[in-house]
């Protein structure tokens, strides 16, 4: 297991370098003079020159790349053209907001998806099975931004049950410590704010979690159907084990591996999908940060934002790979 972990980590190195290359060349791939494009038509000669220098575009690309990598290793993600501040200094609150939202979306998706999949498999061909699977099919095809807008319209604007934008009650702002508001409010014992934060998380969490929920439900169902036909499940039932344990202990444990793969993959897609959900719900996360940067042609922020999300994605996949071995001792890595 240790050898596998080390080898898997070593394999990451070329991928991570490749990712920095792609992100690095983004700005250089802009057709025309990047500094001119960033500053617009009215820019003065001097402004263009100074930006070219600031971005290091006046040097040969390999020197720029070496500098870029050096800076990355020292935790320097560049300077935002819009706010003129260090990206590494200002990125965490955005990242925390996205992580909180993604984790909540994933919890919703796993809880509903796995259970719906199990019930569908257990009562195969029942009305529940059909309804759940038709809903799952629709869920897979759902444009997240549309679902988000419809949720916002129905539950917030029409019914007034839940807040439509933001992540906190602006009149009762959360004092940020970790910037993960669920944790911050708990540490401070502010249960009123904790409730507010939860309320703000529900609509975007559901919107973001819908596609993974549908995919997880379908995967769980097919995986459970396979496992429930196996001998050990029949044995467990013959021994008189209670149905609940047969399903949740014996079957689920064995059916969970393909589901776990899907969950890992979806977590990455979720980080990408967050950009849409965050735009709709005014969620101050990394997606929104990148989106605003695009409108301001703030390329250093676009580059670093994308790189950070991609690096997180890569590490999630790593964790999922390592989890297989932990869950299923039959898997041997040589």
């Amino acid at each position: 297991m240790l050898a596998y972990t080390v080898r898997r980590l070593l394999m990451l190195i070329p991928v991570l370098f490749g990712m920095t290359l792609i992100v690095f060349f983004m700005i250089r791939a802009i057709p025309g003079d990047p500094a001119q494009v960033i500053l617009g038509q009215q820019a003065t000669e001097e402004a263009i020159k100074s930006l070219t220098k600031q971005l290091g575009l006046d040097q040969p690309w390999y020197l720029q790349y070496v500098d870029y990598i050096k800076n990355l290793f020292t935790g320097d993600l560049g300077t935002s053209l819009r706010t003129s501040s260090d990206i590494s200094g200002e990125i965490w609150p955005y990242l925390a907001a996205t992580l909180e939202l993604s984790l909540v979306a994933m919890v919703i998706a796993i809880f509903i998806g796995v259970n719906a999949g199990i019930i569908s498999a257990w009562y195969q061909n029942s009305w529940f099975d059909y309804t759940a699977m038709v809903l799952a099919l629709i869920g897979v095809s759902m444009p997240v931004f549309w679902l988000g807008l419809m949720e916002q319209w129905a539950f917030s604007l029409e019914l007034g049950w839940l807040p439509s934008t933001g992540r906190e009650n602006v009149r009762n702002p959360v004092e940020a410590i970790t910037h993960l508001y669920l944790i911050d409010t708990l540490i401070q014992g502010r249960m009123d704010q904790f409730g507010e934060v939860i309320k703000h998380l529900i609509l975007p969490g559901i919107a973001l979690g819908t596609i993974p929920m549908a995919i997880i439900a379908r995967m769980t169902r097919s995986s459970m159907l396979e496992v429930m036909r196996s001998d050990f499940v029949r044995t467990a039932r013959a021994k008189g084990t209670r149905m609940f344990w047969v399903v949740y202990k014996h079957s689920l444990k064995n059916a969970f591996i393909p589901v776990l793969t899907v969950i890992g993959l979806q977590m990455g897609l979720l980080l990408g999908g967050a950009i849409l959900t965050e735009t709709i719900f005014g969620w101050p996360g990394i997606g929104r940060y990148i989106y605003d940067a695009i409108n301001f042609r703030d390329y250093p922020v676009i580059q670093s934002g994308i790189l950070i999300v991609a690096v997180i994605f890569v590490f999630i996949n790593l964790i999922v790979d390592l989890l297989y071995a932990a869950i299923d001792p039959r898997i041997k890595y040589n």
């Binding site: 490749g18 095809s141 931004f145 549309w146 419809m150 897609l269 994605f313």
Partner: protein, 299 residues
């Protein structure tokens, strides 16, 4: 045909009723029995017809503005209501089918062509070529796809054409990996070894033996990829990175109507419904094709 028939009967004399059918026809028979797949095909055909005959079907033009009829709710004269410029939403959705199908189809065609070619080269030649191409695929797949698309559009500039290019690029590794793995298995087949033994050229082996035998999974993947591509194109347009006003692209229509959601929810509802139905159609069709064409991939 009449002359061949007796001969055929001799060959299969024990079972005269049994018909010799091609794998494609057998797949079609399986496909026809799959109700969901037929529903998917129906939806897809419906939208294709809408796109082709938009000029005939649509009650009004794309940009016919009647400011006196702004934000009218659905009625007999405007089935899906009107938007903030007084344009008929139904007509715009019908024309929008052209854009979405066009982007979906050509983006996937592009990525399938480039991806298949790279996959074939990697799988057939192996060694260093394979290592390089496969690593590039790994790196591309390491990015969440929509982010990579956003990055490409951020570089090229926002437009529908650039969104199409971005979607084509991000889907290349999916086809590349698929075809590469097919090539690796087909390469071991006896008929390919035989072809090589008789001195057939590599390019001929690839295009006459390897490619035809990889076609079924490419078609399946392609159909499902169109669904994703349409969704991604709508998402990019929604973010303002794809289609630009006044193009009747569904995602763009949604984005433009957002601020009227309280007064006129139908302006947001119908374009989104159109996206969802089209994507659903391609997903169902793709699932059905997979079950019919590739029994091994069946879940």
């Amino acid at each position: 045909m009449a002359e061949i028939a007796p001969q055929k009967q001799v060959n299969v004399s024990k079972q005269p009723d049994e018909e010799v059918i091609s794998p494609w026809r057998e797949a079609w028979k399986g496909f026809r029995r799959n109700k969901l797949a037929m529903v998917g095909m129906g939806i897809v055909l419906f939208f294709i017809l809408l796109a082709i005959f938009a000029g005939v079907i649509a009650p009004e033009g794309i940009n016919e503005q009647k400011l006196s009829e702004r934000l009218q709710s659905p009625s007999a004269s405007h089935w899906f209501g009107t938007d903030d410029f007084g344009r008929d939403i139904l007509s715009r959705i019908i024309y929008g089918a052209r854009i979405s199908l066009w982007v979906g189809f050509f983006a996937v065609l592009g990525s399938a062509a480039v991806g298949s070619l790279l996959g074939m080269v990697a799988g057939y030649y192996g060694r260093l070529v394979d290592t390089i191409i496969s690593r590039i695929f790994d790196i591309m797949l390491a990015f969440p796809s929509i982010l990579l698309a956003i990055a490409v559009v951020a570089v090229l500039g926002p437009s529908l054409r650039n969104a199409l290019i971005a979607i084509a690029i991000i889907n290349i590794p999916n086809f590349g990996r698929l075809v590469r793995s097919r090539v690796l298995s087909v390469k071991q087949e006896e008929y390919v070894m035989a072809a090589r033994a008789v001195g057939m050229k590599d390019s001929r082996i690839i295009f006459h033996h390897v490619l035809p035998n990889s076609l079924a999974p490419i078609i399946v993947q392609g159909t499902l990829a169109i669904a994703t591509a349409i969704l991604e194109a709508a998402a990019l347009s929604f973010l303002g990175l794809g289609a630009q006003a006044p193009q009747p692209e569904w995602g763009k229509m949604l984005a433009d109507s957002r601020s009227y959601i309280i007064q006129a929810p139908w302006t947001v509802f119908f374009p989104g419904l159109a996206i969802m139905l089209t994507v659903l159609g391609f997903n169902l069709l793709g699932d059905g094709l997979r079950d019919a064409l590739d029994p091994k991939m069946k879940k």
